[in-house]
Symmetry: C2
Subunit: 190 residues, 2 copies
């Protein structure tokens, strides 16, 4: 792992969580729309800043843009024609989630202090190069799994679960309740 | 929440994690096969003992039985004709995961010490009764989300991530590696 070595991979001040991007490779627009949507929603809800998607899926990017318009924040799904260039351009450690990797607990201390983190999540077929290009191949349990679940656990361990409250620019916010549903709607300026 | 009051809801010895079952309501066999499969895989990989599924989906139960035959353990997907009876028969607290509920951090201390836990996960349409019948409605972030992600975070917070190693009765086990894939195959007796 190359954290802490070069200038661009410097550690951030203690207790400052990393900026996290997710890269989904091997998306099959026809077969995986709901699964990849769940992956993107989980990434957003648990504090990632963006999801790079290979191959691109403009419909899915548009659906997430609608969620952001309603619920706020700046999360986006960025279609990419070449996933390797995203990995190579990553400003911090690249963590590939795979059931074949090293246990999460072993890798976590090395990535929590990074300033930027790229989490790579494969689909049905994972390009073999990915294992080599990643700084760490990490398993969230070594059993057959869901990539949505693995991403969620990693994000919770690195960033924690965000509290309630409206995200900047959002129109809607949940008012947490013991029973039933309550949503607050904010009239936006302009 | 009714933990600790009746004999059957007694707390277990300290540090002994609860036995967790998952109940998925509102499954649509035609539309959700992959999502509910991911939910079941995540439940199994992160230590739940079974998933009750309403309505039943024999194909999905069979798929998970194949995973168990290969990878071990005793996890099963149990189709149920009536989800309310599962909730009412729960031997411990019933936690419904919903973005409208109370923050996870607030509810967690109350459920960690239970001996049994039923985690209820809704599909596209959640029956309104569920909010009333659950002992706790709990949000893993108050943003639009994935139920797979919410379940994964809850299970990790309650049970932790299982380490590597073959599960009892399994034929296959991952050998964790920094690069690439390695699976160990065990010849079963008989």
């Amino acid at each position: 792992m190359a954290t802490g070595s070069s200038g661009s991979r410097r550690k951030r001040p203690r207790n400052r969580p990393p900026r996290v991007s997710v890269l989904r490779v091997g998306h099959r627009a026809g077969r995986d729309p709901r699964l990849t949507t769940h992956l993107a929603l989980a990434a957003r809800a648990l504090g990632a800043e963006r999801m790079f998607l290979h191959p691109a899926d403009p419909d899915l990017s548009a659906r997430l843009a609608e969620v952001v318009a309603d619920w706020g924040g700046t999360f986006e799904v960025v279609g990419v024609p070449d996933w390797k260039s995203v990995v190579r351009a990553a400003p911090g450690p690249v963590v590939h989630l795979t059931m074949y990797g090293l246990p999460l607990d072993r890798v976590l201390p090395r990535i929590r202090g990074a300033s930027d983190l790229l989490v790579v999540v494969g689909g049905a077929k994972v390009p073999p190069d990915l294992y080599r290009l990643a700084d760490a191949n990490v398993a969230v349990s070594h059993q057959p799994h869901s990539e949505v679940a693995a991403l969620a656990v990693l994000l919770d361990r690195v960033l924690g679960v965000p509290g309630p409250g409206r995200l900047a620019g959002g129109r809607l916010a949940v008012v947490p309740r013991a029973r039933g549903k309550k949503v607050r709607e904010v009239r936006r300026s302009r």
